[in-house]
Symmetry: C2
Subunit: 348 residues, 2 copies
């Protein structure tokens, strides 16, 4: 194996129209952001390529983030679009080491959507906000004509306070860092896929959607130097690792056999031909911490309900800049890249 | 005329499905918010019924707001959905007396939307942000399948700093306050209507979309005690006045003949059977200031390009709680209410 990353001889073409893959969390979406969004809005906060921007306001440092949710179906085992929207934004703040303070909630409703569904989603948002310790302080409602939306889309933005002194960002990742995940992977993606395609498994697989701030807080209060945190949403673990490796310019090696996946998700992935490392999660994170602190960090996470299956899965190595490799069960090493397009549209 | 507000003998029914009117800025939307959204998310910030929530973060007070934009068509004379999304959120912050600091930008794109349109909207957002003195620091992109969206929807959320000590909110409005508008009304609504329906007027009517923070700042720097500010978007001047009167529990009387409307907009409104007081604006505000400061306030606004046609149009009177009346050109007094449903869907 050489020290050169694989290069595709056919350049990724520019696309004249928007494709589903532009929202899929893979390489095509990444290219859209890198080619269009980041350069157009160029500023230091956006260029950190982090889940949330950290901005000074008066004497305080706040984190600020947003996500729209277009998940289909908007009710699914283990949650709904409202739960997802609250937890997703809470988690993006938490990944910057910020204690979530307040959220906005903006609904785009389609004419004809049952009002009972709207009421249920709004109630979910209120309950999830309470569970996560944040307040929904402002909002907006828009309605689009029938056939120009899909029931309910939700946008949440969030503001958090960063009390942590050292930045938590891809730029802080160092060779030698241990790479930890907080729990088993793939539940959210498989739950949505099953709900959408009407697949029946032996037991129902539920989304793992959960607020992660208190898990992050338990790491920070244990004085674990968290170099980088990332929640494993669209594109799953693999895409998150590639993003961090590319943003930080460091090589990452993981041990595929150590990635925790429950039997049901593994079975579903085998049946569907999916790699669990690419399946979306909504309540799982990856943490980059100094190797010397890895054991303490795993212990700290395991005290928390959302981190009971926390474990180390790899390390930041020293040679191939920006490349992720995985040691397979057979002992061979393979490159890990983002998938190019779309695994499952509208997963979140 | 009695001291009792008009009561409709037929109670407004609850609706089992979402109707376009639920996003129209009129009574039905207002009822949805009052019945469902505000009580479900109940907290002091949301109960101020203001364009932006004011929240303490460390030693600073920040304003926080969000709006989604679903305007159709997304390019129109005088602007596009991107300009609107930036200015709209900047203005909601300004209406709380907050200097806008940073924005988020979240796109929901429909599969098949021309990439050139996305690029143009994103460039508009960057340019508008620069003009308004804010930075777009974080964002999100989602794609929905063809037929489940409408080209481009944009959500912006914004954070501003409140340096102003006295709150600016409906609760601060007092009997005797003068009511000022910052310019002529109805341009945005008529521009959209003309673009959508292919109406041709003698000259093109352009949207008035503009960032209003520097106009507000010129009032604050002139030490004008701004009791309440409101931008005149969905539902126009009339709905904004009714909202403030109801939230503050004060009666408002305006002089219809003093509402500034340019000839083209007046002509279009006559042709279409519209009252300009209900037509949407995206760069106009109403200010409630003590009568003694009204002249100075008008002068301060007129020094600003967005306030050149500022004028006084009415006063907060003392008797009929929460009711808005308008003195007509014939000298009679009529009740002003929100329209019940929808004047023009997807105006913003």
């Amino acid at each position: 194996m050489t020290n050169v990353a694989p290069v595709c001889p056919i350049p990724a073409s520019r696309h004249d129209t928007v494709m589903l893959a532009h929202g899929g969390g893979g390489r095509i979406m990444h290219d859209l952001l890198e080619r269009l969004i980041v350069p157009t809005f160029h500023n230091p906060a956006m260029e950190t390529r982090h889940d949330a921007a950290v901005v000074g306001v008066g004497d305080a440092r706040i984190a600020f983030t947003t996500d729209s949710y277009v998940v289909s179906p908007y009710f699914f085992p283990g949650g709904d679009i409202g739960v997802l929207a609250v937890n997703g934004t809470v988690n993006d703040l938490a990944m910057a080491g910020a204690r979530p303070v307040c959220l906005s909630a903006a609904l785009i409703l389609e004419e004809g959507c049952p009002m009972a569904a709207v009421e249920r989603v709004v109630a979910s948002m209120a309950r999830s906000a309470e569970e996560a310790g944040v307040t929904i302080v402002t909002g907006d409602t828009k309605v689009v004509d029938r056939g120009k939306g899909d029931g309910i889309f939700v946008n949440t933005a969030g503001v958090g306070i960063v009390e942590q002194v050292d930045p938590i960002a891809p730029s802080q990742v160092r060779p030698g860092d241990a790479i930890l995940v907080s729990g088993d992977l793939g539940r959210h993606g498989i739950a949505i896929m099953a709900a959408r395609e009407g697949l029946a498994f032996e037991t129902t697989i539920e989304s793992d959607t959960a607020p992660l701030w208190s898990l992050v807080d338990s790491l920070l209060r244990a004085n674990i130097p968290c170099h980088c945190l990332r929640d494993l949403t669209r594109g799953g673990l693999a895409s998150a690792l590639v993003e961090v490796a590319e943003a930080a310019g460091v090589p990452i090696e993981i041990d595929e056999t150590r990635i925790p996946v429950c039997d049901q998700v593994r079975g579903a992935c085998e049946m569907l031909g999916l790699d669990p490392a690419y399946v979306a999660n909504e309540g799982r994170l990856v943490a980059f911490v100094p190797a010397a602190d890895a054991e303490r960090a795993v212990r700290a996470m395991r005290t928390h309900p959302a981190g009971r299956q926390a474990c180390a899965i790899g390390t930041v190595t020293g040679d191939r800049q920006g490349v992720v490799t995985a040691r397979t069960a057979l002992g061979t090493l393979r490159y890990v890249d983002m998938f190019s397009g779309e695994q499952l549209p509208r997963i979140c």
